[in-house]
Amino acid sequence: MSGRRLAPLVVLLALAAGAVGVARATTGNTAGFPPPKQVVPAEIADPFEGRYVVTEVGRGANVRSGEMKIELSDNGKGPAFLVGGLQLYEYGSAGQLEIGLFSLYPFSAVSGGVSAPLLSQGVLQTTLGQLKLLSPRDETGLRGELSQHGSPPAPIVFKRLGENQSVNGSPPPAKQLKETDEEPDAPGWGASAAEYEGEYELTDAAPDPAKEAAILAPVIVVAQGFGPGGVPVSGGTMTVSGGDSPSAELILEAGGVSSTYFLTDLAWRGDQRVAKVRGGSSSGPVVGSFEGRQSGDALKGTLEAEGVRYDLSFAHRG
């Protein structure tokens, strides 16, 4: 099937008997939609085409599992446009599993990706929610936000299925992601200051791509900060202090520029580590945030500050 041709779009998925208490379901009807008024440009739309299975979803969405199909329809009447179908196995108010079948149409370009309303299927289509999908960073899947019935958006992660892959109509349960009330809130980055105080050394320093870039160095750093890989950090250290207000001073070398950030409001829960990022001093303005995970002496995370994202790996040297 040509990727840009509208294929038969109602795909019957054989459900494993008894797996979710229903016999059959589909990813929804995606055929017959007219070209939308606003067509997502091909360079944005093309990477979304594919079949997907839900692998992670925010607990608040009450979704057990699901599948999605997104296609490009040329319809013979204009530029190709995105149209999709989404099948969700959802927990009802009494905890029972229900199937939700939605059409995703029309897609529109939004900041960072695309968005489409969840339309009910049938003669009278009504909008039951919204799905926002971020432009994929690679071929493996998609990330986005799902909102239904006026509920707050919940994070959702899809894994791309290969041409010959199938879940046979019984997608595996998705990992339930923690909601905001389970965010780290214990002060510091561990049960005792002795666990986390001290010097941290950057372990994944990379060659500075802007080193030989002359006048282009700043735009390279900025652009990489918006790209999927973040800004390559060529060096860095962090000193974490405990006490009444645990904090850290972080020095990063990136793009030929040394930047000092001050981390305050350090908090933890399990292996999660978070902090506010301030500029200038520990009492300076909040310019970003840090989110990471601790595993032994290794701390891996992402720092976003002043519109630039850095993926960081540290080793605690004590």
């Binding site: 370009a109 870039a213 006048i215 999927p228």
Partner: protein
């Protein structure tokens, strides 16, 4: 007397030739005056780039890239107009031209919110190695990165 005059002319010619060799790596650059003016143009362009407010969100990315592109295009025109010659100068100017083209693509990618392409184009910019080309052309100021304040 005639020989002395010929020798004097020869010395003057040598001195003139030496004065014309401002570049390095055996390439002619059009003279010390060219180097000085090109370096001054680069210093000014670097200062303009350093003064650009750093984008703090995607909405500010496009104008930032467009302004950088305009500065690079202006620098290329200015250095070209100075009339330098030699392979190293040509290579540096070609590097500036390629940079402007990649920045133009980056503007288009930012305009269509294709941040993956923005990141890839950043790598293409880095591969040009503009500082190396400027150094080879004997343009020390052009090899420097703008002094952006963190």
């Amino acid at each position: 007397m005639k020989r002395l005059a010929l020798f004097a002319c020869f010395c003057l010619a040598l001195a003139a030739l030496a004065a014309g060799c401002g570049g390095s790596g055996g390439s002619s650059s059009g003279g010390g005056e060219f180097s000085a003016e090109a370096n001054a143009a680069c210093t000014t362009a670097n200062a303009r780039v350093a003064a650009l407010p750093r984008p703090e969100g995607e909405a500010q990315l496009l104008p930032y890239v467009e302004k950088t592109e305009a500065i690079v295009v202006g620098l290329e025109r200015e250095v070209t107009a100075l009339g330098g010659s030699g392979d190293a100068i040509k290579a540096y100017l070609a590097g500036l031209e390629e940079s402007a083209q990649v920045l133009n693509k980056m503007s288009n990618a930012a305009r269509s919110h294709n941040l993956g392409a923005v990141g890839e184009l950043a790598s293409q910019l880095a591969e040009i190695g503009l500082a190396r080309l400027a150094s080879a052309a004997g343009l020390g100021a052009c090899a420097k990165a703008p002094a952006v304040q963190p």
